[in-house]
């Protein structure tokens, strides 16, 4: 898997100008500030993982990039008429809502002035569902999908808008290992097609170590760079507030939490 992600990144020419730039941004909710002094740029070349513990401000940073949240201080520059799509966390959604997969995907085309789908739209939905491997689930109720299928449906809803930038909040949270691999490969393919991708994760070994670029966050940007540059004991301790060891295994970085639970051996 890591070689695939690296290959996909290599196929993207690093010539794009920033789509969104944050300069010295503070952000938060009401009177509390969650993020301090954030400076970050995102372009179509980006395939970036935002890494940090719960409450570190990962989702807040994603919201700033989305434009759904205004900064308390600082400047955000955004390319004009930038098509951005967002994939939320699975657990934030009411899966009992009465909608089929196709209906859910078509929500992204909200500007249409009649309720039913055009022939062209039906073709687009079928094509994007096929690409994501759920082409036969269009008429199924969203509650009847597995976690991986729900994630793919949200990706389909995001992709049908043809975004230049795709933002994902914990895209592999709650899915099994094979689905996690499949989602990562899919994102790598999308990136190879020229789509900027930014995702949040707290999964260091399963996700972060496989991405070409990481931003470690804990109320501020602790470090930014390749996994080799930022997955270090010092950066991880500052980010997660716990001591961790970093090992090399078959050319891969592996993070070990020595304070984690151990199996009792008599």
């Amino acid at each position: 898997m890591p070689s695939t992600l690296s290959d996909s990144t290599a196929r993207v020419a690093h010539v794009s100008s920033p789509l969104i730039s944050l300069r010295s941004v503070d952000a938060g909710y009401r009177n509390s500030t969650v993020l301090h002094d954030v400076t970050l740029s995102v372009s179509r070349d980006s395939f970036t993982g935002i890494v940090g513990p719960s409450g570190a401000g990962k989702t807040t940073l994603l919201r700033l990039l989305l434009g759904s949240m205004k900064p308390q201080r600082g400047v955000i520059d955004r390319a004009a008429r930038l098509p951005v799509s967002y994939v939320p966390q699975l657990e934030t959604v009411d899966w009992n809502f009465p909608a089929t997969v196709s209906e859910c995907v078509l929500m992204s085309r909200a500007a249409r002035r009649v309720p039913w789908a055009s022939r062209a739209e039906r073709g687009e939905v079928a094509a994007v569902l096929d690409r994501l491997g759920i082409g036969d689930l269009g008429e199924r109720h969203i509650r009847e999908l597995s976690g991986g299928q729900q994630q793919r449906m949200f990706l389909a809803r995001a992709l049908i808008r043809k975004p230049q930038l795709l933002l994902l909040d914990e895209p592999t949270s709650g899915v099994d290992i094979s689905t996690r691999h499949a989602v990562l490969h899919l994102l790598a393919d999308l990136h190879a097609d020229g789509m900027g991708i930014v995702l949040t994760t707290h999964d260091l070994n399963g996700i972060a170590a496989h991405l070409p670029h990481l931003v470690c966050v804990n109320k501020h940007i602790v470090a930014e760079g390749t996994p080799e540059e930022v997955i270090t004991p010092d950066v991880l301790e500052e980010t997660f507030g716990a001591q961790m060891e970093v090992l090399q295994h078959l050319g891969m970085l592996v993070v070990v939490d020595p304070g984690g639970p151990r199996r009792m051996v008599s």
Partner: protein, 291 residues
């Protein structure tokens, strides 16, 4: 048979039947959005808020009551939305303050300047007496307006109901869409108030939509079913009220409740699973904001 057809010989009953059927359909239709958003309490609160405007207009300018009470209702709805969104006061608390104060004002106005006679009772429990052509006209106007808005904004309304945060970043003006929904709700309550009654309007917003949800997993079918159930309850309830000699609003709601029990028995666990969570006043994590 003649006994069944007997009430149709009265003009007032014919008007009542038309208004009750269309009212049930309108409340059932818009109730889908209210129920799926977990906003049943707003429907309940708004009907009480509009009572204040209704009372004021009945006493001082009865011929303009649709306009005055309508503005009152829309202002109340927008005030609730605004207070809940911008302040630290929760939606429940905002509704508690705005709507009960308005309801209390209506009661005070009737007590001080009017009587607690038929007008007061009719507003609370609904009546088929004295329905005017103007009321039918305004009911048809609001029904047509709601239908056109839902038709042309179908996906935006559905997206905002399902996932407002993603809808917002996907280009849907969710604030405007929510305000539009509130306006439609206020107007629907206003034009159905005289037949259904303040205290029972909320039930007709909720019951048909919950029944429809128990019967289908499709949003479009839920809209159609809820409308059909609402209009059926309105029609049968109005007819039954004539023979039972009870207020029309109470009978319409009772018919809706009977349909609910029948559907619940027929759909069993499946229906319950589909309707699970519809009564929640608590906002979903998507609406609360996740950090």
């Amino acid at each position: 048979m003649d006994t069944l057809l007997d009430p149709l010989s009265y003009a007032f009953f014919q008007k009542g039947l038309i208004v009750a059927t269309i009212s049930g359909a309108l409340l059932g239709f818009i109730g889908v959005y209210i129920v799926l958003r977990g906003m049943s309490y707003i429907g309940h609160g708004l009907s009480h808020a509009i009572f204040g405007g209704y009372a004021a207009m009945q006493l001082f300018a009865a011929q303009l009551y649709v306009l005055g009470a309508g503005l009152w209702g829309v202002a109340s709805a927008l005030a609730i939305t605004n207070v809940a969104r911008r302040s630290r006061l929760g939606a429940d608390a905002a509704i508690g303050v705005v709507t009960t104060a308005s309801f209390a004002l209506g009661v005070a106005l009737f007590a001080r300047f009017g009587s607690s006679g038929p007008a007061f009772d009719n507003a609370l429990f609904g009546s088929i007496l004295g329905i005017t052509n103007a009321q039918i006209f305004w009911l048809l106007v609001v029904t047509a307006f709601t239908g056109i808005v839902v038709f042309t904004r179908y996906r935006a309304l559905m997206f905002t109901t399902f996932d407002p945060e993603v809808a917002n970043v996907s280009g849907v003006r969710t604030g405007r869409t929510e305000a539009l929904l509130m306006v439609m709700l206020s107007l629907a309550i206003l034009v159905t108030l005289t037949v259904i009654g303040v205290t029972l309007v909320a039930a007709m917003l909720v019951i048909p939509a919950v029944i429809a949800r128990m019967l289908t997993d499709s949003f479009a079918k839920m809209l159609v079913l809820s409308t059909v159930v609402g209009s059926f309850a309105g029609l049968v309830g109005m007819y039954a009220s004539y023979f039972a000699e009870v207020p029309s609003g109470a009978m319409i709601v009772l018919v809706g409740a009977v349909i609910f029990i029948i559907v619940l028995a027929a759909t069993g666990a499946r229906g319950l699973r589909r309707s699970a969570g519809l009564d929640s006043h608590t906002e979903t994590p998507a609406r609360q904001g996740v950090r």
